[in-house]
Amino acid sequence: MIKKSMWYSILTIASVGFIVLAMGFYQAIMVTTAVNPQPPAKAPLTPVPVGSTKLSSKTANSFQLLILGDSIAKGTGDEKGQGFSSYLPESFKNDTSKEILVNNAGIDGLESLGLLEQLQTKRLDKTISDADFILVSIGGNDVKSILSLNDLAKEDQFKLRQDSYLANLKQTLKVLRTANPNAIVIFLGLYNPYEIVSNVENTRLLNTWNYNTQQLVEEDGKGIFIPTHDLLKFNIGRYIAKDGLHPNSAGYQALSNRISKSIETIVTGL
């Protein structure tokens, strides 16, 4: 009868199924517990940040620039692949004949917390203590997602993000100063790449962010805040890259000029 033949098919399917599932079960356990022999981690590459030289020690005829932070620190968006690492030393050449050594530890997408953690690994301590100038670009990724929210959520989220960002920033400055009490910290302000579609509200928030950042930087005796918003506001077409977010070559050059102008006296004095 039908029922009996159903029983036989059920028995077969179930037996096969049981074996298959048992194998899967074993795998699931292995994957979540056993210490897997991992594919050997890639051999650590000798760091070759684009367009700069790194010497192991500072001499009397050179000074060191350390660049920390997000994609802008790194130089993303520059169609020539140069970024601050090249243009800033270029700008410095006007004020000094010394050699400028650059270390770039920028990481795309880095947020303030990530920067703090990066510093806390202590792997950069030597580099920090050797630095004469430390350029920091951070915060853009912290604030990025808020701007697209609707107005109701924006205010609250902004406050939240800003508070944690400022706390991270404070801590970061502390860590830097502990490793190097003397270097000049150059902090880049945020700009609004979406200037075209922006509104008063967003600008107000941007200004608030920059203002509070500036306050903190000023508390550190040897820090300087470099605004970028005003420089780029009407020059989006000229200074912003095709991705609509990062500066392009011209943009990085313009910013580098502004920076070097702000500290030219210090540079000459070194």
Binding site: W7, L11, I13, Q27, V31, P47, R123, L124
Partner: protein, 336 residues
């Protein structure tokens, strides 16, 4: 062997009672509804994205993915990169590369994705419900209809009869899991296409010192991941089935058994949220049902809980349930 005939008897009874068909019908209806719902969500999300960013962002994914790949490569190359994140970055890169190579928009659904997701969502409540419907009736149904009298007055020892029912239950559990897989893949395939089985999925998350550890994360093909998910689902079915059978034997009423177990399961959700500090919470079986979360790394590590722990706890419950069932069933007086 007599046990074989006994199991045959039990399976035939199950088929005739149409319980199995009923469970399959529920599966079909629910999967269809979910697949349809997912589809609608997908359509809506795509529309929203286009609207918000002013560009057809959905089709521009290639540029974005390419950019992300380059960023990640640079991160990996950077000596200042945190060791721990290396593995997860590499895994993510493999996935992006796969999408680019096979021209798969990461937004899109696939039969493979849906099948896996469906079971991940069902494993802790919906799946147990189906199992309970099969298990709760096996003994209490015979008690209340009186057929147990004829079943036990045979020249077959009581424990063998219970064993045949138990093994039948296991067979049915395998069937339910297999059918869930097949039906998900088929039905969602009509909506999303039947592919996606080779796409890489991240797994290999471990729990170290109570925290999520991603240092040995790796990619496995979707079919393998799905197999693991469904085998964990079977294990959960096995445990829930054993416990249901025990309750069915103790309580002798199908309705009451189902009620008891369902409330326990639902309570489990509350307990894991509200009482996560209690030491004893970890040892409750309902709190340990989300085994697939360990695979996907999306769990809230409560102290001391990891895959081995959960499996051990569940196994302990199952064994205890089986022992209690057998002892009680063989010793009890059938008065009704």
């Amino acid at each position: 062997m007599k046990l074989f005939s006994l199991i045959e008897n039990e399976v035939i009874k199950m088929i005739a009672k149409k319980r199995l068909m009923f469970v399959l019908a529920i599966l079909i209806v629910l999967i269809s509804v979910f697949a349809y719902g997912q589809n609608q969500t997908l359509i809506r999300t795509k529309a929203q994205l286009s609207q918000r960013l002013g560009i057809t962002a959905t089709n521009d994914w290639r540029k974005l993915a390419g950019q992300q790949l380059i960023d990640m490569k640079n991160r990996l190359d950077s000596p200042y990169m945190d060791q721990k994140s290396q593995a997860s970055t590499r895994v993510r890169m493999e996935q992006l590369q796969y999408n680019l190579d096979n021209n798969i928009n990461p937004l899109e659904q696939s039969a493979a994705k849906f099948t896996t997701k469906f079971m991940e969502q069902s494993i802790f409540l919906f799946l147990p419900l189906l199992i309970i419907m099969l298990a709760a009736d096996m003994v209490s149904g015979e008690s209340s209809s009186g057929t147990i009298k004829l079943l036990l007055v045979r020249n077959v020892p009581r424990w063998k009869i219970l064993l045949s029912k138990y093994l039948t239950l296991i067979i049915l559990e395998v069937m339910v899991v297999i059918f869930a897989f097949v039906l998900s893949a088929l039905i969602s395939g009509f909506f999303f296409g039947f592919g996606g089985w080779l796409a890489p999925v991240a797994t290999g998350f471990k729990v170290l010192a109570g925290k999520l550890d991603s240092s040995s994360v790796l990619n496995v093909p979707q079919w393998q991941y799905s197999l693991m998910v469904y085998s964990l689902a079977f294990f959960v079915s096995f445990v829930v089935g054993s416990i249901s059978l025990m309750i069915s034997i103790l309580v002798k009423s199908t309705a009451a058994s189902i009620g008891i177990i369902m409330s326990t399961l639902v309570a489990g959700n509350f307990i894991s949220y509200f009482l996560s500090d209690w030491k004893i919470t970890r040892y409750m079986f309902m709190v340990n049902l989300r085994l697939t979360d360990y695979l996907s790394g999306s769990f809230q590590p409560i102290e001391g809980m990891n895959m081995i722990f959960s499996i051990t706890v569940l196994l302990g419950w199952a064994i205890a349930a089986v022992v209690i069932s057998f002892v009680y069933f063989t010793k009890q007086d059938i008065l009704a």
